[in-house]
């Protein structure tokens, strides 16, 4: 697919920002996203090529405006829904439940 991921040679993406002494993860949710994508992969719900395909299905503007682990979470949702393991409705309902309970 001639998707937004295929960016080799594009101009005007901005400066390369190099962070000194960068931590492995910046936030706790990144740790959880990393672990979930790999464990569901390891559990055989999908393979690595499927994970890349799922990420490439993100709307282009959203892909460019989100971070690496947000891409991963998008991919995980797509793949677990394809697999029938976890639906978007279930996730939306749980988000609403957590929000109502004051979790943020």
């Amino acid at each position: 697919m001639n998707g937004v991921q295929d960016m080799g040679g594009m101009h005007n993406m901005g400066p390369i920002v190099h962070e000194a002494n960068e931590p492995v993860f910046h936030e706790e949710w990144e740790r959880r996203a990393f672990a979930m994508l790999l464990l569901c992969l390891g559990g055989g719900h999908y393979n690595l090529d499927m994970a890349r395909r799922a990420i490439e299905l993100m709307p282009p503007a959203e892909y460019l405006d989100t971070s690496y682990y947000e891409h991963w979470m998008h991919g995980l949702e797509v793949l677990m829904a394809e697999d029938g393991s976890l639906t978007r409705e279930e996730i939306d309902a749980r988000v609403a439940q957590l929000a109502a309970a004051g979790v943020h």
Partner: protein, 204 residues
């Protein structure tokens, strides 16, 4: 991408991750201890020190250097550092005439078990888009200026082969131990966006 080096996610990302995690745990699709363990492995146990150890050994042992360049997977395997996202390793050698740089333009492939998880800039659109068309400009942004006559080879990691650069050993490091040499070898020098430090820079 905003003013920050990494996109600051809205709180709905955090809550969504929590929602998904709680559902996967309830359904028994992921195990909580396994989640903690894989995070800990990549946060605490694995990092660019591994690659630096390999490079320092190659700098001091010509036979090992030969093996490393001929069959990176086997030679890095001697250290036990091949693995997830470094199942197949190719090591490319810098010389006075050739400088190597590694990228993955299509996603963010990187030799995880040899160099650790990649930095944000490596995964970012600015680096992925630009290094193949303007490697010299990218190097300049990293503060590296090479002679005009140097050939720059950019390795686009589009398959399951993973690359590591074997940088040149800095002058004035004769007699240093492998441990001392490893201190000179930065992560960026093994990606190709930097050069090893000099002993003076380490002391500073």
């Amino acid at each position: 991408m905003g003013a920050h080096h990494h996109h600051a996610p809205p709180s709905d990302v955090r809550i969504r991750v929590r929602a998904i995690e709680s559902l996967l745990l309830e359904k028994g699709l992921v195990d909580s201890a396994a989640m903690d363990k894989i995070v800990e492995t990549f946060e605490k146990d694995i990092g660019p020190r591994r690659g630096a150890e390999v490079v320092a050994h190659a700098w001091t042992d010509p036979e090992y250097r030969k093996r490393l360049l001929e069959n990176g997977t086997a030679a890095i395997g001697e250290f036990g550092y091949t693995g997830l996202q470094a199942e197949e390793m190719i090591v490319v050698e810098d010389t006075p005439k050739v400088h190597n740089m590694v990228v993955c333009t299509l996603c963010s492939c990187y030799p995880w078990t040899v160099l650790g998880l990649p930095p944000v800039w490596y995964k970012s659109a600015p680096y992925r888009s630009r290094v193949v068309i303007d490697p010299r400009g990218v190097l300049k942004e990293f503060g590296v200026t090479l002679p005009e006559s140097t050939e720059i080879r950019v390795w686009d990691s589009n398959s399951e082969l993973r690359y590591m650069v074997l940088p040149m050993r800095p002058e004035g490091t004769e007699g240093l131990s492998e441990e001392a040499l490893a201190e000179l070898i930065t992560r960026d020098s093994m990606i190709g966006t930097g050069l090893p430090k000099t002993p003076a820079e380490v002391a500073a």
